[in-house]
């Protein structure tokens, strides 16, 4: 279990750093893009390393991040419809 958490930490950090550097170089100024890519990086790292799904705080975190991601996507879709 501990090695899976270490692997998850390394993967998640790497993905967040790579995505942030890429977005900064692309001069991206929309804050929600940074957050949504971090959330995606979390789910990708979680799916690949599977550190834990048994602990309640981790489950609550998964749900909270999913809800946040859904809100961001819904807001952007709403903006597209409005324009």
């Amino acid at each position: 279990m501990q090695s899976r958490i270490v692997l998850f930490t390394l993967m998640f950090t790497s993905l967040v750093v790579i995505s942030n550097i890429t977005l900064v170089f692309l001069n991206e100024s929309r804050i929600d893009v940074y957050i949504s890519l971090s959330i995606l990086a979390y789910y990708v790292s979680h799916a690949l390393s599977r550190p834990s799904t048994t602990y309640k705080p981790v489950r609550i975190l998964n749900i909270a991040l999913f809800v946040l991601f859904a809100v961001i996507v819904a807001y952007r879709v709403y903006e597209v419809f409005i324009s």
Partner: protein
């Protein structure tokens, strides 16, 4: 809890707060974006730092051994060492029943006497099944996936698992047992047998699942279970 990961996460959040503040003051949105992203990173690390680390697991292992030996003493005193193990459904509860008669249904949690035999009935709570539906079906692929998800992926009790179904008999092949639970599998209250039988009983909604045979292989265990037998 992992203090290092907690402090690391906290540090990242502090850095992200300062970065967000600087981004707000200088009006650079990308800095605020990076700060938000770092905030997510730090928050995740703080949550994951709460997962118990290995020394806690060691304490749990020692405590489990104490409970296991006391349960084994009770089984010995009741002369149930060579008894049948059956998972019996009683209302919404599943009971692991050790008894000389197979699958008695007139049992209550604890120690008792039924059908001319003493019994020990242990209430079973299956970990992690709330995410799965008790369909009552016996589709082999679905049941095998559920067993593998809980036993291998979530609980990490083994490396691999296979299932075959013949009529109302289930053969479960479990390979790559983890060291600490491998020792426990020598006791009458075997975690592999109990968890496997309980998951099958829950999923198939069977009134009873009897453990017919348990065979130890060099790298694992093969458990044969039969559904639906009830002692009158």
């Amino acid at each position: 809890m992992t203090p290092q990961l907690f402090i690391f996460g906290l540090n990242i959040i502090v850095i992200s707060l300062f970065l967000a503040l600087y981004g707000l003051m200088s009006g650079v949105n990308s800095l605020i974006g990076v700060a938000s992203s770092l905030g997510v990173l730090g928050g995740v690390f703080i949550v994951y730092s709460r997962i118990p680390r290995d020394p806690t697991i060691t304490a749990l292992v020692n405590y489990s051994k104490i409970l296991l030996e006391s349960t084994t003493s009770i089984i010995e005193d009741l002369d149930l060492l060579d008894s049948n193990l059956c998972i019996v459904r009683k209302g919404n509860e599943l009971l692991a029943v050790y008894s000389k008669i197979p699958c008695p249904i007139q049992v209550d949690p604890g120690v008792g006497f039924t059908g001319g035999s003493p019994y020990l009935a242990i209430p079973i709570e299956i970990p992690l099944v709330e995410g799965f539906e008790a369909t009552g079906t016996v589709d082999q692929a679905t049941l095998e996936r559920m067993l593998r998800t809980i036993i291998v992926d979530e609980l990490g009790m083994a490396r691999e698992l296979g299932l075959t179904i013949t009529g109302n008999t289930y053969h479960v092949y479990i390979h790559g047992l983890i060291e600490v639970l491998k020792d426990y599998s020598k006791y009458p209250v075997d975690p592999y047998v109990i968890v496997t039988a309980a998951i099958i009983a829950y999923t198939t909604s069977a009134s009873s699942i009897r453990v017919v045979e348990k065979t130890t292989t060099p790298d694992g265990v093969v458990i044969a279970l039969r559904a639906g037998e009830i002692a009158e």
